[in-house]
């Protein structure tokens, strides 16, 4: 390959690597636009070369560092500035390609760009990109290797490697990658970004990490299905499902209090609020938890609950599973039609809460200035947050030291955990006990309205403050109203949307969030299948199965290793009519009692046929000549004239029969 071809190939690969970036927030548009411009330049004008002196390269290096610093983005994690740096370095490296060596050097950053773009995508459409990428990289790698073999000498053909070969190889590779993907160990490392062995409540963990990236709400995986047992429509009020309250606070982490050690099961029912209620007026709902983790989720207004597995209660009314459940879990809840019951458990005493930033303290007192009652103070804080702060799923980082102060004073945007965390902190400053509540909100109602799908995207946190009557906890939701996951009612067109969402949900469920639990489940399923097979089929069945498979294998081997005449064309082939005709002559010889050796040549067959059937000599000779031309014409394989071959064969065959 010439330098021009190398540059064009690199440009194409670079553009392909950049495809997902416009749809992601990982890098800012100026950076990927600049790199794309370089890709286009290399692809369309590969002859254009950039000659840079060492001094100018140094200046460009400084400019790159300055651009990365100016681009910033550390607040969304180190990946953004690193991505900017990578893109700019790749662009410069690609421009400097002049030969194979520099091309190979530039290939690595292009590959890294592709990896970053691919691994930052969560949408199901990335599957298509991934599959096409497999073929693109296979093609590129084969072409690069082919050109490496002949560099400085011959030039390889433009159509190599052939696309059908590449597609076949990529397809087999992708199919092979599925079992590899399934068996790769899913271990959350203690080194990087791991959340250890913390079990999950909503989406990721049983504690809320304010500094975490809120990718929960981006997942459309179905988490809970709520059904009305009576078939009557669900009340939208019930569609706020509570797991538990998070009261144990550190600087940026909120966790639930420990549950009791005694399994809770009185009269076959669990009473989350301690007291027994009359179930006569209550509505019975069935809740299916697709991936049970630690808590059962209770629709708002739940007064009683019946679970098929042992459960325990925590002080705030959270229902904790007594043991690990590997499959989906269905349980029954009874919700009241009247005002929902409020938790009355006492707040945590003697535990230091957040060491609040002085400016945050000032802000808290400013918000509640002139207000006497606690309820009004809590409502003022809630209103302040709803009206003065924006909702955003991006912009979070693990590097932030005090996420609440950062949210309240600087960034002024975040997701529901930031709003809830900030409200708890502000109420804490003014002396009102408050806690964060984790759960789900909203969902998608079925057409009949008796069933609702709650997705991971519906994960939500809100606040309970101990204000109002009877020392009970009152719920507040400081997240802007439009950003609280809503309850949709399904229309006809929604079915299409549901189908698409099902695809996305399956992608999220079985690929993006595939983990150790799913691996265990797979092993368990495989064990069940083996057990079923062993129980269903006796030893005799298995014996015959092995026999049939063995015989099939032997037959296949015998067919595969059948003696073949050296000229491949003697086997039946549409492309070699004359060779096929010579093959027929060979078979005629065998029928006449002449032993045709496995390695017989065309000329041998023709000569032997001439001696036995002198009348067919001329025709057979011509057929042999045509067959040799067909088979030994090298790369430019020529096939004989079919009409002529047929005529010759008719003559030869007639002479053989006489």
């Amino acid at each position: 390959m010439t330098a021009r071809e190398y540059r064009r190939l690199l440009g194409v690969l670079l553009l392909w690597a950049l495809v997902p970036l416009p749809f992601l927030y990982i890098v800012l548009p100026p950076f990927w636009l600049l790199t794309a411009a370089v890709g286009f330049l290399l692809s369309l004008r590969p002859t254009w070369r950039l000659r840079l002196s060492v001094g100018l390269l140094n200046v460009i290096g400084i400019a790159i560092i300055a651009a990365v610093l100016f681009g910033g983005g550390l607040h969304v994690g180190p990946l953004r500035p690193l991505g900017h740096l990578l893109l700019l370095l790749t662009a410069v490296r690609a421009l400097l390609v002049v030969d194979r060596r520099t091309f190979l050097r530039a290939l690595l950053p292009v590959f890294l760009v592709w990896v970053v773009a691919l691994t930052s995508s969560t949408d199901v459409s990335v599957v298509l990109y991934f599959c096409i990428s497999a073929a693109v990289w296979w093609w590129a790698a084969m072409r690069i290797h082919l050109s490496g073999l002949v560099d400085g000498g011959l030039r390889i053909a433009k159509n190599l490697p052939q696309p059908r070969h590449v597609v076949a190889a990529a397809t087999v590779t992708l199919l092979l990658s599925i079992p590899i993907f399934l068996v790769l160990p899913r271990l959350h490392s203690p080194w990087i970004a791991g959340r250890g062995g913390v079990s999950s409540v909503t989406g990721f963990s049983s504690h809320v990490d304010l500094a975490g990236v809120g990718s929960i709400s981006q997942s459309r995986e179905v988490a809970i299905i709520v059904r009305s047992v009576s078939g009557k429509p669900l009340d939208p009020r019930w569609m706020r499902l509570r797991a538990t309250a998070l009261e144990r606070m550190t600087r940026d982490t909120w966790a639930a209090r420990g549950a009791s050690r005694v399994p809770e099961n009185r009269d076959g029912l669990i009473w989350p609020h301690g007291e027994r209620w009359s179930l006569e007026d209550a509505v019975e709902l069935e809740v299916e938890l697709v991936r049970p983790r630690r808590f059962l989720f209770q629709p708002e207004g739940t007064i009683a609950l019946s679970s098929p597995v042992p459960v325990r209660l925590d002080p705030s009314g959270g229902v904790v599973l007594g043991r690990r459940v590997s499959r989906s879990l269905t349980y029954t809840v009874w919700v009241t039609r009247g005002p929902p019951p409020r938790p009355t458990d006492p707040p945590v005493r003697g535990q230091a809460k957040i060491e609040t930033n002085p400016e945050v303290r000032r802000l808290a007192w400013d918000i509640v200035a002139g207000i006497d009652k606690d309820v009004a103070k809590a409502a003022a804080v809630e209103r302040h947050l709803q009206q003065n702060y924006g909702y955003s799923m991006s912009g979070m980082t693990h590097l932030r030291a005090d996420p609440v102060a950062w949210f309240l004073l600087r960034e002024r945007q975040g997701h529901c955990e930031y709003f809830a965390g900030a409200m708890v902190a502000l109420l804490d400053v003014v002396g009102i006990p408050a806690r964060m509540v984790a759960g789900y909100s909203g969902g998608s109602l079925s057409l009949a309205g008796d069933e609702a799908l709650v997705r991971q995207a519906n994960a939500h946190t809100w606040v309970e403050a101990r204000v109002g009557q009877g020392e009970s906890w009152t719920a507040f939701d400081p997240t802007p109203e439009g950003e609280v996951p809503p309850l949709h009612r399904t229309s006809g067109i929604d079915r299409v949307r549901w189908a698409l969402e099902w695809v996305q949900s399956s992608w999220d469920r079985y690929v993006l969030t595939f983990g150790l639990g799913e691996q265990m489940q797979l092993i368990s399923t495989a064990a069940d299948v083996i057990d079923f097979v062993l129980r269903r089929f006796s030893g005799r069945h298995l014996f015959w199965f092995v026999v049939v498979v063995g015989v099939g294998f032997l037959l296949w081997r015998s067919v595969r290793n059948r003696p073949v005449l050296p000229s491949g064309g003697l086997r039946r082939s549409r492309r070699t009519p004359a060779a096929n005709a010579v093959g027929r002559v060979a078979r005629r010889l065998q029928k006449s009692g002449v032993e045709v050796p496995p390695r017989a040549t065309i000329r041998w067959i023709a000569n032997r046929a001439r001696t036995i059937w002198p009348g067919a000599g001329t025709a057979v000779g011509e057929l042999a000549w045509l067959a040799e031309r067909e088979l030994y014409a090298g790369g430019t394989r020529r096939t004989g004239d079919r009409t002529r071959v047929r005529h010759l064969w008719t003559r030869a065959h007639r002479a053989m029969r006489q």
Partner: protein, 335 residues
């Protein structure tokens, strides 16, 4: 068929690219396991899958590609001979990309960018055999590095054919055969002067006498043109080679012997080209006169196979002909 039969002399070498790929996969694996990012896991799956597919493909290609060689009918030592090598892909599934055949000295002599399934391509390779005698071609190796170049896999190409390489032809033997030095040339007188009818003018060939040059035509056509004459009487000439030397283990004497054999072979070829029947006597072997250049291998074969003998061996067979040329390092014919 066993592995050794399918892959004679199998060699496997990890390439630099393969090492880089392995290290990259390892880093990718660490990143995937650490972060739990399933996209990285999928990438790792793809990387490992590619590794397996590439390995299986190249192995199948190496096993299914066969090479057959067709040697030329006449091969002279120290001269390039054109050898036909046919590569055949017997696999019905795997096309063979990037096949490389290296000769015994490691030079790439054949490059096949794509050999489709069930296809065969013929290549012509220039080969030079340094010495006369029976030779086998090789050891040549078939190398496969594609599709993804992680490993360089190769196997030896086993040729079951042997080629008889005739002695080296000398450019200036015409003069040496006419000179003295113990070589008696009974027909030297016949060669003196120009005689016979002019049959044709033709291009100069190696071994032609300079005095046969047709200078006018040479000047006119700006290439060497010689006059070919038909001798009036074509009596056969016998070349008698005495294979005895004083010390067959002495390299110097062996070199001189080889030179002598080359002189005889050159003389035989020249005479046959001139249309003179030539017989050869090598030790006890007597080859009766051959009359055509096409039959030259009959006369050259004993010259290709002859080995120096000690003086205790018997002298060359006596033949009773008028025209014979005697070649010996051991002295006269009677010794």
């Amino acid at each position: 068929m066993g592995f050794a039969a399918s892959f004679p002399g199998f060699r496997l070498r990890l390439t630099r690219w393969g090492i880089a790929y392995l290290v990259g996969s390892l880093i990718l694996g660490l990143a995937a396991v650490n972060t739990g990012n399933n996209a990285l896991m999928a990438l790792l799956g793809l990387a490992l899958g590619s590794y397996v597919v590439s390995g299986a493909w190249s192995r199948q290609v190496l096993g299914s590609v066969e090479a057959t060689v067709t040697l030329p009918s006449e091969v002279f030592a120290d001269r390039s001979a054109l050898v036909d090598v046919e590569l055949a892909n017997t696999s019905g599934i795997f096309p063979a990309y990037g096949l490389l055949v290296r000769d015994g000295e490691g030079r790439a002599v054949i490059f096949e960018e794509l050999l489709p399934t069930n296809a065969r391509h013929k290549h012509t390779v220039e080969v030079v055999f340094p010495g006369r005698g029976w030779h086998t071609l090789g050891p040549w190796r078939l190398e496969v590095i594609l599709p993804l170049g992680f490993f360089l896999k190769s196997k030896a190409l086993v040729w079951d054919q042997q080629v008889l390489v005739y002695p080296r032809l000398l450019a200036n033997v015409a003069q040496s055969t006419r000179r003295g030095g113990g070589r008696r040339s009974p027909d030297a007188l016949d060669l003196r002067g120009r005689e016979g009818e002019v049959t044709q003018l033709r291009d100069f060939r190696e071994g032609d006498e300079l005095r046969a040059l047709h200078w006018k035509q040479t000047a006119r056509q700006r290439r060497l043109v010689v006059v070919e004459r038909q001798r009036a009487i074509e009596r056969p000439v016998f070349f008698v080679l005495d294979p005895r030397i004083e010390d067959p283990s002495d390299p110097q004497q062996r070199d001189r012997f080889e030179r002598l054999v080359s002189e005889v072979a050159t003389g035989v070829v020249q005479r046959l080209r001139q249309g003179v029947p030539v017989g050869v006597v090598v030790g006890p072997i007597v080859v009766h006169p051959v009359r055509s250049i096409r039959r030259a291998p009959v006369a050259l074969r004993p010259l290709a196979e002859v080995q120096p003998q000690p003086l205790t061996e018997t002298a060359p067979a006596e033949i009773d002909v008028a025209r014979k040329m005697f070649f010996s390092l051991a002295g006269g014919p009677g010794r």
